[in-house]
């Protein structure tokens, strides 16, 4: 007797849970031949707002987790992804990748997580300094996470691209809300399942699927978001993001053209992008 197909319901990932969008809406995505691949949740601005509240609440405790612990958790994500790589390869192929590219992308994605796991207890030394000052102060600078980061993930290389921007942000103690690739969102939600089984505390990574046109404005203007990362080439959108981000002087980070397999895409300087430098003046003699 033949079995019935078990279709997967792709939902959002907010606060360590998989809720449907509060709006009840969906959009469809097709494979390269134009056949229906899946129905995705069409996240609303309210979903984003809820995710910000959760990301904000999760940020302090995530930032204060020890560097060792954060590194272990990133490594754990890599382990979990390794165990499920066949699934990710086949999802990438379904979304139009060639078999060879899909395999490379998944392998690179796993290696990238391991790479940033290693930086967890090292980038602080890299970006901190004792500064020479002419007064009688001991003057030193260290880095701290900016806080809550909104991310518009790249359209292409939807798994590797997403991990390449998320990993440096979270290893630095930020919490993130990611809008997945609009045309290829499957792997982002499957990746959420990996996160969910990797000891990543709920709310540290939140993943939405939906439309940039609808959400980018709120992501850029929300006063409780401290930084926004946009991966793409839409100059008009970058301009409007910059304008809205000025409301609370959000840090804007744009990655325009990218082949995310490029080795320049893994660097401690990408961690620094979502870090804030704090300088302390400590009196030494009176």
């Amino acid at each position: 007797m033949s079995r019935l197909d078990i279709q997967k319901t792709y939902k959002l990932y907010i606060g360590g849970k998989f809720p449907r969008t509060e709006s009840g809406r969906y959009f469809t995505i097709n494979d390269s031949k134009g056949n229906l691949l899946a129905n995705m949740c069409l996240a609303s601005r309210k979903d984003f707002r809820n995710a910000v509240v959760i990301a904000r609440n999760a940020q302090n405790s995530w930032a204060s987790a020890s560097a060792l612990n954060k590194g272990q958790i990133l490594y754990r994500i890599a382990e979990m992804l390794e165990g499920r790589k066949e699934q990710f390869i086949s999802e990438l192929i379904a979304q139009g990748e060639t078999a060879a590219n899909a395999k490379t992308e998944v392998h690179e994605a796993i290696d990238r997580l391991v790479y940033y796991a290693g930086w967890s207890d090292k980038y602080q030394q890299f970006f901190s300094a004792v500064n020479p000052v002419s007064s009688s102060h001991f003057n030193f600078s260290g880095v701290e996470p900016v806080g809550v980061v909104a991310i518009i993930a790249p359209e292409n290389q939807p798994l590797l691209g997403l991990i390449s921007v998320v990993a440096p942000a979270i290893v630095g103690g930020n919490t993130v809300i990611v809008l997945a690739s609009e045309t290829k969102p499957l792997t982002a939600i499957s990746f959420a399942e990996v996160l969910n089984s990797s000891d990543v505390p709920g709310g540290v990574v939140n993943i939405l699927t939906g439309k940039k046109a609808e959400l980018a404005g709120q992501m850029a203007s929300h006063m409780d978001v401290n930084s926004i990362i946009y991966c793409g080439t839409d100059e008009k959108l970058m301009k409007s993001i910059s304008e809205s981000a000025s409301l609370n002087v959000k840090r804007t980070i744009f990655y325009k053209k990218h082949d995310w397999t490029n080795e320049l895409c893994e660097s401690p300087y990408l961690i620094e992008k979502t870090q804030e430098v704090k300088t302390t003046w400590h009196p030494t003699e009176i």
Binding site: S221, M223, D224
Partner: protein
């Protein structure tokens, strides 16, 4: 006289929860929502009841009460500031010139575990210091032991000690276990002379909940139908978001109606609710989601 407590309605928890679920699913137009939020703001008893309170903290709270958010036009001030008796004088001074009331907790708040004599002195002290409203706690131990007359007499004695000050009676529903007990305690408080009945001290979990408030509103309604006298209601503790505040207002409107929809008959005992309402009001004016970092702490 203590009312007959044997013929009170009996509450079925499942039924009450069903009814509450309906209140929570009402859709409210954005323009009504803004009005609702302003109404809720005007009903807040801005509260600080901590051992670490200082006069500066109370002054800051009073300033917040008078100036919730100065860049927002056309918003009301809160209804009252609620403090310990030791800070009533300071609060009164800081609020001078405004119509914001000073409420003080009394009667060995929050446990109420002291003699009647001490409780009356506590109340008189707060009133002498200038408190407009007294929030007393009932003796839950005596109530649960079935000593209803004791509870009734105590409330009546405190009411007398209040003089002109309004009396709010805290039932501390988190310790009363059942909705039927809540109804019983409400009856005792109302007949003993309460101007308001209040759910909780905020020091015990669970604090205010919609089901408990629903039962208390029903007691108020039955008393009104019987005597024509209006008693006020104050849910307190755990109401921290605009969404929940609006659900309370929906319930208030549907159970008691428009006559109760003002600060003379309904209050929220809260502190963080204020900023959440302000954030929603700024959002509705600007379209931009807000951050708590840009609102004054109280």
């Amino acid at each position: 006289m203590i009312p007959n407590l044997n013929n009170l309605p009996v509450y079925d928890t499942t039924g009450v929860n069903e009814r509450i679920a309906r209140f929570c699913s009402r859709s409210i137009k954005s323009s009504s929502k803004v009005e609702g939020l302003k109404l809720a703001l005007s009903m807040i008893d801005l509260t600080t009841l901590e051992g670490k309170d200082t006069t500066r903290k109370v002054q800051q709270l009073c300033y917040k009460a008078m100036h919730p958010h100065d860049t927002l036009k056309n918003i009301p001030t809160v209804a009252a500031v609620c403090v310990y008796p030791a800070f009533v004088k300071e609060a009164k001074k800081a609020l001078h010139g405004s119509d914001i009331q000073v409420a003080s907790v009394a009667t060995a708040f929050p446990s109420g575990q002291s003699s009647l004599e001490v409780k009356l002195l506590d109340t008189k002290f707060a009133v002498d210091q200038g408190a407009d409203e007294i929030d007393m706690v009932i003796s839950r131990g005596e109530f649960l032991a079935g000593n209803y007359q004791y509870v009734f007499d105590e409330i009546a004695a405190v009411k007398e000690a209040c003089g002109k000050a309004h009396l709010k009676v805290i039932l501390e529903t988190g310790e009363l276990d059942t909705l039927d007990n809540v109804r019983k305690a409400s009856e005792i408080a109302i007949y003993a002379g309460a101007d308001f009945i209040k759910t909780s001290t905020g020091k015990i979990q669970p604090a205010a909940t919609l089901p408990v408030t629903y039962v208390m509103l029903n007691a108020i309604k039955d008393y009104y139908l019987k005597t024509g006298k209006m008693i006020g209601m104050k849910p307190a503790g755990g109401i921290s978001t605009s969404k929940i505040a609006l659900q309370y207002l929906v319930m208030l409107n549907e159970v008691l109606g428009e006559k109760w929809m003002n600060k003379n008959y309904f209050r929220f005992g809260a502190s963080s609710l204020t900023n959440d309402i302000l954030m929603q009001l700024v959002k509705s004016e600007t379209g931009i989601y807000q951050s708590i970092n840009y609102f004054s702490k109280d």
